[in-house]
């Protein structure tokens, strides 16, 4: 990209950046105020999350920095608070604000990773099913159908439980993380597979595919080089919406106590801890992580919705 932008725009074809700025999608983006706000919100939240080690006032994962005497501090504007803890502290004296930043980072990493894995599995199986057809198609799609009859959260719980039973003795902090990603991606691959399969079936009868086949290009190259680029649009849309879904599902699992451990809390874990203190009036422990989660999911969802509409030729 840097090379193309160095060449003078007036002489040659417009650079990638310019093409993007001039595209339909970008114009559609500029026309929707809600989307701009959602995009700005997402960007800010992402920055807060990924820069948390540098901008968070405390390190909630550093056990040595916690002091139990700092626990249950209310937010800074309430009487009896310590201004060092802007949004108060939890039952172990963890700063809620920092915990939210770090927790959001874990939520996002888990979300991204599981979306990527789910997309890889789903696209692969969808391509094979759509291109090969016949028995392979039937087999893959029946598995997908069966899985669709179960709610994603149930599948994730099932996989999580089984995996914990099998490898329970491993290091829990690292292990919980990968188990979560594994169970989330295995519960979300179906949508990708179905979409990709449908598009593949349309594409494979087009002339460029037939031409490629005639000159003897192997199937896997046709799938990856020729068909795949033409089915990525819908995949992008699903991926964006699934990111929000994955974050919520991760939060649900953590809330139920089968997700991230309290020593590496995600947003769901934080809400789950705070939940025990709602009756006793220490509302900030559950409310602030809850608001953060709601904001994050809302922004990502709005972006996903907009992307779906923008890429849909019928709505243009």
């Amino acid at each position: 990209m840097t090379e193309t932008s160095e060449t003078p725009a007036s002489k040659k074809a417009p650079s990638t950046m310019e093409r993007l700025l001039d595209s339909d999608i970008f114009h559609a983006f500029l026309r929707s105020k809600v989307t701009i706000m959602a995009a700005a919100g997402t960007l800010i939240l992402f920055l807060l999350a990924f820069l948390s080690p540098w901008i968070a006032p405390h390190d909630p994962f550093d056990l040595a920095s916690l002091d139990v005497m700092n626990s249950y501090m209310p937010p800074a504007w309430i009487e009896g608070a310590d201004p060092a803890f802007l949004l108060g502290t939890d039952d172990q004296g963890r700063d809620i604000l920092s915990a939210i930043f770090y927790g959001m980072r874990i939520s996002l990493i888990v979300g991204f990773c599981s979306v990527i894995f789910a997309a890889l599995v789903g696209i692969g199986l969808g391509l094979i099913a759509g291109y090969m057809g016949g028995r392979i198609d039937a087999l893959i799609m029946r598995v997908a159908d069966v899985q669709l009859t179960f709610p994603a959260i149930l599948i994730a719980l099932l996989i999580d439980g089984a995996a914990r039973g099998l490898f329970g003795s491993l290091d829990r902090e690292v292990f919980s993380f990968w188990i979560l990603i594994f169970s989330l991606s295995l519960s979300f691959w179906v949508q990708y597979a179905r979409t990709v399969r449908g598009s593949t079936m349309v594409e494979k009868n087009k002339e460029y595919v037939q031409a490629a086949r005639v000159i003897g290009i192997p199937s896997w190259i046709i799938m990856l080089r020729h068909i795949l680029p033409n089915v990525t649009g819908p995949v992008m849309v699903i991926a964006t919406i699934n990111l929000a879904l994955a974050i919520v599902t991760e939060a649900t699992l953590s809330f139920l106590g089968v997700g991230m451990p309290i020593t590496q809390p995600s947003l769901g874990t934080l809400i789950s801890v705070g939940n025990d203190y709602l009756y006793s009036g220490e509302w900030w422990m559950a409310i602030f992580p809850g608001v953060a989660l709601a904001l994050l999911v809302l922004c990502v969802n709005l972006l996903g919705d907009w992307l779906r509409d923008a890429l849909n030729p019928k709505l243009r």
């Binding site: 309290i262 025990d276 009756y279 006793s280």
Partner: protein, 528 residues
């Protein structure tokens, strides 16, 4: 369509009327953990024993003030110094109709000491049990033991014929995954029958109309549901769905009190919460120190002790519903306990001790902790982990439900732990129990101090313990106990944290006796 609606409505009404006039009282209660096996010898844990104490009975029992009363034994006498004679109650029937006789006592005495039992310490292995006649039993002891029957209120008598008939003579241990008949069904002599038992879901008890004693309760059915989440448990009480929940989280006591229909019953419990360290294995199971065991060094143990800010835990996590403790026994149970002072909280001293012991850069250790057994158990473990992190010891915390926790750390699984949190109420309400169970030397199989999970061992303490058992003069006895406790304190055999408080949430419709050992017995309940 209208007709069916009407019919339905009237059916519902009828149903409602049919149930309301009967005076059947149902008590619904919840506890934070589950009731697993109902075999009375599977797990030596207060909640399990107290639940089964409604169904089974021992030769003795304890009343609301914890005084010993006759139960299945009408009376007893020491006929020779080493021979105790128990006269059994006549006409008592088990729930299946079988008669209770001396045979059942002998059978239970052997079964409680058999492989897999968690209550082996109730009767010394060298004790023999002799049948004199159908309603008289002699216990022949290897040496004098004036407190022989102190713990027998939780040594429940089982029906020999029933157990043999269902092929359940062997005890299902806490680590066993294949429960036998006696672990899933119960047949006692107590005031309630076990109607149904679904582990982790619901347990139902019904009144035993043929109970030998006069019932002072007015319950017909009792339903128990485990509710792990603190907030949910309190919500169920506040909404009136449940009549009693325990424990209620310390932060919610005010909320329960301010609700007009409920109140919080609080008081000191006789339970000491403490930390234990594996001092027996040459190398810790869960640690980055290889080839040696840091906890075998008294300086390391003391460093851990001094790193813990007990005032912080008591004030913040327990919200003052606990008392810091220097001993492994409640001050209510040992007269000289105020002579003992905790090693002071001093992170600098702790770091210096670690440096002296050669762990200047600290080390890592895995910690086992229950998360549904004691008041705020997991929060305490987390706080301990962060306090130890400050002196350089990295704790990898493994907090899990008590069913899994006990299955991992107890004798039945070979004491699979390096560092653990446990609570102990001496069931005899006497220091000897603490010495014998928690501080006496043991072998790998758990002979000796069976609940001394860390395997602390000092022969001098063992010798003092043996003297304590046979000493009849209270003053001399207390002095011997003090001597033993002093050694343990100096050597940091274990790290006592605090005496936890009791907190039950009770509906105002219910009258209940709250025993200081946290046993909840239905026979002390009336509901109106």
């Amino acid at each position: 369509m209208k007709k069916t609606c009407l019919a339905l409505a009237s059916a519902v009404m009828l149903g409602a009327f049919a149930t309301t006039p009967s005076s059947a009282e149902t008590l619904k209660f919840a506890f934070q953990g589950t009731l697993n096996q109902v075999d009375p010898y599977s797990l030596n844990e207060t909640f399990t024993l107290s639940s089964l104490g409604n169904v089974y009975e021992g030769l003795t029992r304890r009343n609301g003030e914890l005084e010993i009363e006759p139960a299945l034994a009408e009376s007893w006498e020491v006929v020779e110094p080493n021979r105790w004679r128990f006269h059994l109650r006549k006409g008592v029937k088990f729930h299946n109709g079988n008669d209770f006789t001396a045979e059942d006592v002998v059978f239970s005495a052997n079964r409680v000491r058999s492989e897999g039992s968690d209550l082996k310490t109730r009767i010394d292995p060298k004790t023999t049990v002799e049948v004199v006649d159908d309603y008289t039993v002699d216990f022949v002891l290897p040496g004098p033991n004036p407190i022989l029957h102190y713990e027998w209120d939780t040594w429940y008598i089982m029906d020999k014929d029933w157990t043999e008939e269902h092929d359940a003579v062997s005890v299902t241990s806490a680590s066993d995954t294949t429960p036998n008949y006696a672990a899933l069904h119960a047949n006692g002599t107590g005031p309630f029958k076990l109607e149904s038992h679904e582990v982790g879901v619901k347990t139902t008890y019904t009144k035993n109309d043929d109970w030998w004693d006069t019932a002072t309760h007015n319950l017909d059915t009792v339903e128990f549901t485990p509710i792990g989440s603190d907030a949910t448990r309190v919500a169920a009480l506040l909404s009136g769905e449940l009549d009693l929940v325990y424990p209620i989280p310390v932060q919610d006591i005010k909320r329960v009190e301010s609700n007009p229909d409920t109140s919080a019953l609080t008081g000191p419990e006789l339970r000491t919460i403490f930390l234990g360290m594996d001092q027996m294995r040459p190398e810790l199971l869960y640690s980055d120190v290889k080839g040696k065991n840091p906890f075998q060094d008294v300086r390391v143990r003391k460093a851990v002790y001094q790193a813990i800010d007990i005032e912080g835990i008591v004030k913040k996590i327990m919200r003052n519903l606990a008392e810091p403790s220097a001993l492994m026994i409640s001050p209510f149970l040992y007269s000289r306990s105020d002579e003992f002072k905790r090693h002071p909280y001093d992170p600098d001293a702790s770091k210096a001790l670690l440096k002296e012991a050669g762990y200047e850069d600290g080390f890592s250790v895995g910690m086992d902790c229950p998360n549904d057994r004691y008041v705020n158990d997991e929060a305490i473990c987390q706080a301990v982990a962060s306090m130890l992190a400050r002196v350089g010891i990295k704790v990898d915390l493994n907090a899990q439900p008590k069913a899994k926790y006990f299955a991992k750390v107890l004798a039945s699984n070979g004491y699979d732990t390096s560092f653990y949190l446990l609570g102990w109420t001496p069931s005899s309400f006497d220091s000897w129990n603490v010495l014998a169970n928690m501080l006496a030397c043991r072998d790998e199989k758990g002979n000796g101090g069976a609940f001394n999970l860390g395997g602390y061992c000092n022969e001098k303490v063992d010798a003092l313990m043996a003297e304590v058992l046979v000493e009849n003069d209270p003053e001399k006895r207390d002095a011997l106990i003090a001597e033993a406790f002093t050694i343990v304190h100096e050597e940091v055999g274990s790290i006592p944290l605090h005496q936890q408080g009791l907190a039950w949430g009770v509906s105002n419709k219910v009258d209940v006796v709250q025993r200081a050992d946290n046993q909840f017995l239905f026979r002390f309940v009336t509901k109106n």
